[in-house]
């Protein structure tokens, strides 16, 4: 490319992204839609500022490769091993199930079996880029649905290779025997395995020392270059043997997930990933062939709706069986129902191999692109109308508390904080009723023998069943501040006899509970921090008892001060003033006492430790 072209190209892409993405986010649509819209606007069917959409797509695919490398970095080998069943089990179910269903429907519709098979396989794939991008944007990666989407996407990455290899076979025996004769098939399989083994071994044995050596050069940009080189090299190796570049990058990422350079690699590659992925989405937007769409809009619409519905049907069944929590299902279904960038490759490859003709190929590509454009929009719609309803009517995996309880103590929230309280109480023969709404946690602590009920303490009926009307103390140990406050509000309103003993995450939380009339509140880190401070004083040579007394007095001062500031909890300036004043008072007090003590010690050393009146008589 000429330099002038390169510059105008960058100008167009960057300007489009910088304008479109903030606007899309402002409208609550998310950045992916912004990129796609920018692509449509600058593409051949918009302002026609850029024409080579396909070239751009190939270049920007590297963004997807980088993204998978970063996804791999977040996934230690141990956790990947734990995902082997979702990947191969559910991944295969999705791919084969969707493809089979679509193939069947296409055959019934009277489409030739070759076209039906290619279309079914190509459309069964989903966009890793949009899927993982949307998950990352919504912080859903660690959830069940996030992990499931990742698992299926990984299987699809693996499966794309045999699908592509199948195309020449479909085109006819003659073509296939030339390129993929049995011996060379064995040979390429062996090469592929060798490369994967090389990456795994190399990643384990060579990469870390190499990175250490590079890091020692203390040149940040060289470390960045090395990070990029690592990904590019892995991708090149994989491509050379006909494997998926993204898959190789993912493997390399997993192998480095436990290394000390994980964070550095992440921060170095993140901006590249973000920009290239943006470019990729722009390219997808540009590559939507509106000519095809406008020529036969009804057909395109039919294909899009049909394949989205069929895939969604399979995914819905999977979500029920896996099971994925109900409020997370829409995201799972929408992200995997859409077509994917591998679909482009499959259809183009099929057209080149002569399995399908060019107009059909571009129609299918258009359908995939439209679905990729639709899915972020569908997500936004699901957020507004679908998920809130599911969340309300969530049917949990565990049975909720349903037998009337009558213990004198109820513990709401049995995480790290509640467990300590529970142990203290159980050890002393009390049998509190314990509630927690985290199903996984409930299952784990039950295995340790704790009688814990599953249930959401913010629900009045469950509180009643837990015995709130007859209990004396409610221990509010929930870590989520909004929920904690909600429980306190409900209890104050409906069970005024119930004394609340609460955990406060921070000062704001403390004040909010306090303003609801809760009297017994402990700030969760205060005592641990004071104990630490006490240890520090002891290490400085202070006698343990003196350190204890100072720490206890400091604690009392701090607690008193907090109460003193409560009426002004909305007025930050006043709050700061009072807190400064309080700190000064405390410093002065301690300074005076030190002065007194040292005076006494100087005059009569033998009496330095005398504090009581009668020690000298």
């Amino acid at each position: 490319m000429e330099q002038v072209n390169w510059l105008t190209g960058s100008l167009v892409f960057l300007a489009a992204a910088v304008l479109a993405v903030p606007i899309a986010r402002l409208l609550g649509l998310g950045s992916i839609i912004g990129y796609l819209a920018a692509g449509i606007v600058i593409g051949p069917f918009g302002l026609a500022l850029v024409r080579d959409a396909q070239d751009m797509l190939h270049f920007a695919e590297f963004g997807v490769v980088l993204m998978l490398f970063l996804v791999g970095l977040e996934l230690e080998p141990r956790r990947l091993w734990a995902l082997r069943r979702p990947i191969f089990g559910w991944g295969s179910v999705q791919l084969i199930g969707s493809a089979a269903l679509m193939f069947g429907v296409a055959m019934l519709a009277g489409i030739g079996w070759k076209l039906a098979l290619v279309a079914a396989l190509g459309l069964a794939l989903s966009s890793t880029a949009i899927g993982l991008g949307a998950l990352a944007e919504r912080n859903l990666m660690p959830t069940t649905s996030g992990q499931s989407v990742l698992s299926v996407a990984l299987l699809q990455d693996v499966a794309a290779i045999p699908i592509l290899a199948l195309l020449p076979l479909l085109a006819g025996v003659g073509v296939a025997s030339e390129e993929h004769a049995a011996p060379s098939g064995w040979w390429s399989a062996a090469k592929a395995i060798a490369v994967v083994v090389a990456i795994v071994l190399g990643g384990r044995l060579l990469l870390r020392p190499a990175l250490r050596w590079i890091a020692r050069s203390k040149t940040p940009e060289i470390f960045t270059a090395a990070s990029l080189l690592l990904v590019v090299a892995t991708a090149t190796l994989m491509q050379a043997v006909g494997l998926s570049m993204a898959l190789g990058a993912f493997l390399a990422g997993v192998l480095l997930a436990e290394s000390e350079y994980r964070r550095e690699l992440e921060t170095d590659l993140e901006p590249f990933k973000g920009l290239l992925l943006g470019l990729f989405f722009i390219a997808v937007g540009m590559s939507i062939d509106f000519a095809v769409v406008l020529q036969r809009p009804a057909v395109v619409a039919l294909v899009v709706v049909a394949f989205l519905l069929l895939k969604a049907l399979v995914l819905w069944g999977m979500a029920r069986l896996m099971p994925i929590p109900r409020p997370e299902r829409p995201v799972f279904i929408i992200l995997l129902a859409q077509g994917g960038e591998f679909g482009f490759v499959v259809f183009q490859g099929a057209a080149q191999a002569g399995v399908i003709d060019a107009p059909v190929s571009s129609l299918l590509v258009a359908a995939v692109a439209v679905s990729m454009l639709l899915s972020p929009l569908l997500l936004v719609l699901a957020d507004r109308y679908w998920i809130p309803r599911l969340a309300g009517a969530a049917t949990p995996r565990l049975k909720e508390i349903d037998e009337q309880q009558s213990a004198a103590i109820i513990i709401a929230g049995f995480g790290r904080y509640g467990q300590v309280i529970g142990r203290l109480l159980f050890a002393n023969g009390f049998r509190p009723t314990v509630l927690d709404h985290d199903a996984e946690l409930v299952e784990v602590v039950r295995r340790f023998g704790w009688p814990v009920f599953y249930g959401d303490a913010t629900r009045l009926d469950l509180l009643r069943t837990a015995g709130a009307a007859s209990a004396r103390v409610l221990v509010l140990a929930i870590d989520d501040m909004a929920q904690s406050i909600e429980v306190a509000r409900i209890v104050r309103e409906h069970f005024p006899q119930l004394t609340i003993v609460a955990r406060a995450r921070n000062v704001r939380h403390y004040y909010e509970l306090r303003n609801l009339g809760v009297e017994h509140i402990e700030r969760e880190t205060l005592d641990a921090a004071i104990s630490t401070g006490r240890s520090v004083l002891e290490q400085l040579g202070m006698r343990p008892h003196q350190a204890r007394t100072l720490a206890l007095r400091f604690r009392k001062h701090t607690v008193d001060q907090l109460e003193l500031m409560r009426p002004h909890s909305q007025d930050e300036a006043k709050l700061i003033a009072i807190s400064k004043q309080g700190r000064q008072q405390l410093e002065q007090l301690f300074a005076q006492e030190r002065e007194l003590a040292s005076q006494r010690a100087q005059r009569t050393p033998w009496e330095a430790e005398a504090t009581a009146a009668d020690t000298d008589r």
Partner: protein
């Protein structure tokens, strides 16, 4: 204004029938006239609020120390209270006149029966012998040491005896300062601590 201040100290109040009955009697009086400070409830961490204690002492006319006898003396927190609160220069010594002319009344209970406090028995001394530190502490602060109210053999006291003891306590608290023995008491002997007995502070 509370003119009777009860400093109560029992580390295991939950196990003491006698002191529970006394606390109950005192607590019922409560209100403006009687101020009860339950040290083990106020200071479970043994961090005594000296200012608050001195403040309530200043207001009182009769100071009651209500506690069980442990090891011929008072429970640990009660002793710490004395160490911390009855400070030099406040309760005694130069300008230490905050408690001057108040009355100090010990209300104690012992586990052992009274006749164990005999020279020929296992406690070897008459009970009064152990009261000398109390009496002198009061004197040093310029307080009259009113004859104590002691329930001996608290472990074996019957319900009726405990009730009668609590009743007596209650009526005494109510009738203060109209106690016959107060009229007969000698004024407190001055125990001025010389200024140079302690370093100036």
């Amino acid at each position: 204004m509370a003119d009777v201040l009860i400093i109560a100290a029992h580390p295991h109040l939950e196990h003491s029938r006698v002191n529970q009955a006394l606390m109950h009697a005192a607590g019922q009086l409560g209100g403006p006239r009687v101020d009860v400070r339950d040290l083990y409830a106020l200071y479970p961490d043994y961090l005594i609020d000296v200012d608050a204690e001195q403040d309530s002492l200043s207001k009182a006319k009769l100071i009651v120390w209500q506690h069980p006898i442990h090891w011929y003396s008072m429970p640990a927190l009660m002793k710490l209270w004395i160490d911390d609160v009855l400070a030099f220069g406040w309760a005694y010594g130069p300008r230490g006149t905050a408690l001057k002319d108040k009355d100090l009344w010990l209300v104690a209970s012992t586990g052992d029966p009274e006749d164990s406090y005999r020279p020929n028995r296992y406690n070897r001394y008459f009970f009064d012998a152990f009261l000398a530190p109390y009496e002198q502490s009061a004197a040093l602060c310029g307080m009259r040491f009113v004859p104590p109210l002691v329930l001996h053999g608290a472990h074996r006291a019957s319900r009726a005896e405990v009730d009668a003891h609590a009743k007596l306590y209650e009526s005494r608290l109510l009738s203060y300062p109209d106690w016959p023995e107060l009229a007969e008491m000698e004024p407190v002997e001055e125990c001025a601590v010389p200024a140079d007995a302690r370093p100036e502070s």
